[in-house]
Amino acid sequence: MKRLLAGCVLAASALAAPPILIQNATVLTVTKGTLTGSILIRDGKIAEVGEKITAPADAKIVDATGQFVMPGIIDCHSHIAADSINEGSVSVSAMVGIEDVLNPDDIAIYRAVAGGVTTANILHGSANSIGGKCTVVKLRWGKDAHEMIFEGARPGIKFALGENPKRAGNPSGQRIGAANVNARYPATRMGVEDVIREAFTEAKAYQQSWKDYNDKVARGEPAPAPRRDLKLEPLVEVLEGKRFVHAHCYRADEILMLLRVADEFGFKIRTLQHVLEGYKVAKEIAAHGAGASTFSDWWSYKLEAFDAIPYNAALMTRKGVLVSLNSDSDELIRHLNDEAAKTMKYGELSETEALSLITINPAKQLAIDNRVGSIEVGKDADLAIFDRHPLSNFAKVEKVYIDGELYFDRANDLAERPGHENEKKKLLDKEKEQQRRTAPGPARRPAA
């Protein structure tokens, strides 16, 4: 009982954080237009949005005169905070998961927050046809790995097509079977399709074995339980719509291949990732209902990226595909707003369409749009405040809130720098002092 009470008190004190009123801002809600006014944050949620909001007596006032507030940016493809991403020894590594290797100390998290990002889909790499289980996180810098996980977000799985999985099959690029080539199936796009079809054929049989078992149990018949298969379980979840497929792909042929394999086995591709030639098969992507998460303007770094065009996001949008822009990079994640601005140049998307690519659209792709992705009453108070319109290349982030908590404040960051410098110097001095004390003579060196 005491314990329960203590729990209640704790919860109450967390809830007791005073409301925050952001005033005089240009509010880019993304879904409900733009207004000049205020946002009231209460208990980590957006409580009110309007031109005039009376400040509650206990509210903390944030004056955002001349500044722009947008929903926290969502990156549908990132590897930040992931300690390792490729289990490259097999081409179906569905048994491994990002959740087990989340590193909350990765400085890339803070840097991403400083770019206005509040949520990211953390994926495996692309060495494998089926890479592993991915996790959606909120960038709650300073919290532990568990507290970063986006509560209730549907888990995903990473697939990869094209050059990367087939290169992993034939890393030297030489003729298959040549000396020194440590070959691993698949080494062609044909093989990649086969690996995925074989895996789902197995998964279907595995699913059936459990169904048979459960039926027998229901009828009261004695039956041995099937052996659990940790590789096939996530694939059964895919078949049952409980796990989203996020598939790395480039070329139109392989995109179409995957859509047809999914049709054959009766599941959906939730998002096509990178999908640089998505514009060539936009019709088919829209018909399947897959989302597309692409780069703004990457191209030519490899052969399968040679037909990539910066109009990809706009063209797919015009053809009815739900599109987002992703980073796949610790660096690019810091300026996804700049990337969104490029779609106004290449394909002439509107401001709202451009902003949607990094907010509400990725939220919908990850099925978390009931919580994040726009500034609406009842949604999480995940907000980024910019000193100018975020689609201007001259804009920079001033403040970032996640669940109504301030996770980045440029003024604080600047103010804390001298202190950090001092601390670093002290640590370095201490280390030097330590070395002097422990070294018996000048010739001593640390062991190699």
Binding site: I107, Y110, R111, A114, Y279, K280, A282, K283, D297, W298, W299, S300, Y301, K302, L303, A305, F306, D307, A308, I309, P310, Y311, L315, R318, S329, D330, E331, L332, R334, H335, D338, A341, K342, M344, K345, Y346, G347, L391, S392, N393, F394, A395, K396, D413, R417, H420, K424, A448
Partner: protein
């Protein structure tokens, strides 16, 4: 009918004068060398700017381009690319950026520039009218871009070219704008995402001790190479019997004589110090390439008039505990230190994003005018061609772009681009694919 249209079109230039003679009228002109002028004109004759300002009378019969609501800027200069030398980064057959051998000052990038590269029209479409095209893996991702060669010290001659021409000869502005090299370092930035790696021929597998030994060896070799070049210079001047020409040594003469700068890749403060020391010891002109920090080197660079080509502003800090905006503020640090700089993308794929590199520097402190200079006039001055390009001034080439706004903003559209007064095609592979697939039923 078609034929008639063709005849009419063909005869049009006759009516309107030569293609590279025209007047842009009623635009906001940004000469860069001086303050912007509203409602102004630029008069171009035979590819050169012959008048800038308000109330310029249109010579009779001249072709007039209405610029109402539009802006005129000098074409931008990317001071570091591998344009025409590399088509697809990961495909060895399409990469000619780095030759085998450690000291190759005789190699000329210009003659390997593929004028039909798809990168050229893509880059040009965003208002970049000329580039430095460099040999070696400068700022790149190692293997692929270098064509798989181990890192050389002196990689060859960088070329300054216009992004227009049927041949590299027609693109030429300066065959050798500088000799590109890297200063030997203990730590390289060769790792993925810029991670530190001990440098060395073994790819750093020997650890720090090996890397340090390698660093000292390379610095010694470099000094010896210069000494050899000086002996050659003397021998050549003495013109004694038995003298044999040597192409490597010949290529060093313009450097020793101060006619050509060394373009030295030096990322860290320590490497910059070594580069400055090389300049002092060898009494040569130096341009820094892709420095990633300034440290305490500002006064040293300023005192020697050593300029810098700054790499991508949108980059990660060097170290985990650096301020998150370290790369964003670097251009302003150079500006405040009084060190002249221009921007380079050190890339082909993202050369077109050069103006946004400048824009981020503005967000983090650099004055807007300085950012604009760093993609135009400063570059021309650093490469020694400011008598011909880099600003909208009488007597210079008409390398001009017409935009609907500030070119440093991504949403701005480049409407027209002129190179030496010639209106160049802004169409490219990507635009064609866009139109083709937009029309797909």
């Amino acid at each position: 009918m078609k034929r008639l249209a063709f005849v009419l079109l063909a005869s049009l230039p006759l009516l309107a004068g030569p293609e590279d003679t025209f007047l842009i009228r009623g635009a906001t002109v940004h000469p860069v060398a001086s303050a912007e002028i509203a409602d102004a004109s630029v008069l171009v004759r035979d590819g050169k700017i012959v008048g800038v300002g308000r109330n310029l009378a249109a010579p009779k019969g001249i072709r007039v381009i209405e610029g109402k609501g539009l802006h005129v800027y000098p074409g931008m200069i990317d001071s570091g690319t591998q344009m025409g030398l590399s088509e697809i980064g990961s495909t060895r057959e399409s990469v000619d950026t780095g030759e085998l051998g450690k000291y190759d000052p005789q190699l000329r990038a210009e003659i390997a520039i593929n004028p039909a590269s798809e990168h050229i029209p893509v880059t040009r479409a965003n208002g970049i009218s000329s580039v430095i095209s460099l040999p070696m893996a400068i700022g790149g991702d190692g293997g692929g871009r270098r064509g798989g060669a181990p890192p050389s010290v002196i990689a060859g001659q960088a070329a300054l070219v216009h992004l227009d021409g049927w041949t590299w000869e027609e693109m030429d502005i300066k065959k050798s704008a500088g000799v590109a090299m890297r200063i030997p370092t203990i730590l390289s930035l060769g790792g993925r995402l810029g991670a530190d790696l001990p440098s060395g021929p073994d790819g750093g597998r020997g650890g720090f001790t090996e890397a340090k030994k390698n660093y000292e060896n390379e610095l010694r070799e470099l000094r010896e190479f210069f000494e050899q070049a000086r002996r050659y210079q003397k021998a050549k001047a003495a013109n004694q019997p038995g003298f044999h020409p040597d192409l490597k040594m010949e290529a060093m003469l313009p450097v020793l004589e101060g006619q050509e700068p060394l373009l030295i890749q030096a990322a860290r403060e320590r490497a910059i110090r070594d580069a400055v020391q090389l300049a002092d010891q060898q009494k040569v002109r130096v341009i820094l390439a892709d420095p990633k920090e300034l440290g305490k080197m500002g006064p040293e660079l300023k005192a020697r008039n050593i300029p810098a080509i700054l790499g991508p502003t949108l980059a990660l800090p060097l170290r985990d505990d650096d301020p998150y905006d370290a790369a964003y503020t670097l251009p302003d640090q150079f500006f405040k230190a009084g060190v002249k700089f221009a921007f380079g993308s050190f890339d082909n794929e993202f050369s077109r994003n050069l103006p946004y590199q400048a824009a981020t520097a503005v967000a983090f402190g650099l004055p807007h005018d300085e950012a604009l200079k760093a993609v135009t006039l400063n570059a021309a001055q650093i490469w020694g061609v400011s008598d011909r390009m880099g600003s909208i001034e009488e007597g210079k080439w008409a390398d001009l772009m017409i935009t609907d706004g500030d070119p440093l903003e991504a949403r701005t559209q480049v409407k027209q681009l002129f190179i030496k007064g010639k209106n160049v095609d802004l169409d490219n592979k990507q635009r064609r694919l866009y139109e083709k697939y937009l029309a797909r039923p």
